[in-house]
């Protein structure tokens, strides 16, 4: 019933320099104007078809030709067809609203999903940065400790030397 939704701008490439930004453009909805036109056409056909059948009575003087019964039958058929068409027109309206709303939820879901992936990426990045910072802290502690250890070993050696020398004097 609906024609294809016309995509005015259909990007075939996407590029960005941002690391943690979403890429979704928004809900992609069918053409609302197209749906409205279709619905209006259904309404017009319903009214026109019903009217035509009611006015188009059988002509001539044959049996039942132009009788009330023939008019009644024609009217019933016309009412039935018009009623179906009116219902179809309203169904078109429902479809129009539903087709407009469904992409919104789809978009919200997709956006939430992408944001989840981006949050994971951010945490991963922070984890990498944390590890680098932790290594720096550990390195500093190791270096300072080793430096103090070397200084102390030198001092120990000097004390031992001093003791050996002084002892030899006595």
């Amino acid at each position: 019933m609906f024609a294809q939704s016309g995509a005015g701008f259909l990007p075939s490439q996407f590029q960005t320099q941002k690391n943690y930004a979403t890429t979704l453009s928004g809900p992609i909805k069918p053409d609302q104007e197209l749906a409205r036109t279709n619905r209006n056409e259904s309404m017009a056909k319903a009214a026109f078809g019903g009217d035509m059948r009611q006015f188009n009575q059988q002509a001539g003087k044959g049996v039942e030709a132009g009788s009330k019964m023939s008019a009644f039958r024609a009217g019933l058929l016309a009412d039935s067809e018009a009623g179906k068409a009116y219902a179809q027109a309203q169904q078109d309206k429902l479809n129009m609203y539903a087709d407009q709303k469904a992409p919104e939820l789809a978009f919200q879901e997709k956006l939430a999903g992408e944001q989840g992936w981006l949050r994971e990426l951010l945490i991963d990045k922070k984890d990498v940065q944390n590890r680098e910072r932790m290594a720096s802290y550990k390195r500093k502690a190791d270096v300072d400790l080793q430096k103090y250890d070397r200084t102390m070993l030198d001092a120990q050696q000097s004390w031992e030397n001093e003791a050996t020398i002084v002892s030899s004097l006595f």
């Binding site: 319903a46 009116y86 939430a112 120990q156 002892s167």
Partner: protein, 176 residues
Amino acid sequence: MKPVPERPPPIGRAPVAGYDSRRFPVVGPMEPKGFYRSHISTAEPLGQSVRDTIAAVKTPRLQDIRLINSAGNNSRVGLAEATAKTSSNALRRSADEFNTKYRTQAEQARSQDILSQRQNTQDQFRMDSGLATFNFDTLTRFTQGVEDIYARGKRARSAAQAQITASFMRMLGGLF
């Protein structure tokens, strides 16, 4: 001589997870802290006014001058109104069903969105706790390492002094 140092007090029972303790203060965050908000709307997509608009099925226009005020006309009116009413009800049900399915899916999507955020917060908590633990470990290791080296140096200096004193005493003993 100095007596043998006393043994340290028993370490006691291990701390319980999730509780702070005076003996073992929690290093890092106690709980994952999160503020969760989802932009997935669970409101009904088709409001009351829209549903009314959809359900407003037009009745076929009855116009045949020869059938007015006749039994046939009443039949036609009845048929036309019945068609419109049943169509209207069917459309109202369809709209309601659409609303229901939409909201059900939206609720599920929102719960998944919030769960995803909670998992992220949990990961963040794990990372923060690990970072704080590691840093505190490093700090303690450095402090204790410095103490070890200092004590070792102190002992070495004391030993050197004792050696000098002993030599001096040996010399004095030789004099006597």
